[in-house]
Amino acid sequence: MTDKQQEYNDKELLSHLQDPTLRIKAFSYIVKRYSEPLYWHIRRMVLTHEDSDDLLQNTFIKAWSNIENFRGESQISTWLFRIAINETLTFLGHKNMETVSLSHTDGIIAEQLESDTYFNGDHADALFHEAVQRLPEKQRIVFNMKYFDNMKYSEISEILGTSIGALKASYHIAVKKIESYLTENN
């Protein structure tokens, strides 16, 4: 799609996706438009670039494979975030089974981050992301969406299928846990 076509809204994009002759171009536009927000969301969940890259590509491949089933009941971004979150949680589920004992030691995640080629933060940044990483997965998703992605509770609610009240409570608990972890480890 051209730059002019970037002004297309979800409705127009959906009609292009449903047309087999325009589908690939519309999907190319979607990949361009949503790669960055999806990547950063995944990256904050899994931390490494390599894993984030795999999960981002898998998200788009899965979306493409199911494109005919997408009827536009939700926004395209909501649909893509749901796929990305499912992919990420499945990946983390497998990974946690392999590394559960390693991550129990305080400071080990920060240490790994600081030695990562694609991390240029200081120790405070690394410790902060370790504190986030220690949250339960679903609480971490809510925290990341609200704190870093600046999403509204209504948007998060639509993506996760959780009530706004529960999301607010989850975010509040997450903030308290992170603050407590940082106080103990600073």
Partner: protein, 116 residues
């Protein structure tokens, strides 16, 4: 430590390789036709038959079950009839060979049933 007004919120310490987002777009787009082909030639499981398949299998199962049950009953009835015929023939033969009248036999069998 308060994190809501923290500078960390505004910082992104994570980085990506040069031109990553342009490259990932190309990589994803080059994989799409292959994924389409994979789906096109995907082997469909015999178990993946949907609701109509399950309905047909249930009807078939009840039909076969019904036929087997009906045949079993006919066979059993035939066997009972054959056994009765065999018993009657045997009793007739006994009455003839041993010169026992039917009343005596009836009395014997009745006393045998009641234990006397």
């Amino acid at each position: 430590m308060q994190i809501e007004d923290n500078d960390i919120k505004k910082r992104n310490p994570f980085t990506v390789p040069d031109e990553y987002f342009a490259k990932v777009h190309n990589r994803v787009m080059s994989r799409l036709p292959q994924e389409r082909e994979k789906r096109k030639y995907k082997v469909t499981s015999l178990l993946n038959v949907g609701h109509w398949g399950y309905a047909a299998a249930t009807i078939l199962m009840f039909t076969i079950g019904g036929v087997l049950f009906y045949n079993d009953n006919i066979q059993m009835a035939q066997e009972i009839t054959a056994a009765d015929e065999y018993n009657n023939e045997y009793i007739d033969e006994l009455l003839e060979n041993y010169n026992i009248d039917e009343y005596a036999l009836y009395s014997y069998l009745t006393s045998a049933d009641t234990g006397y």
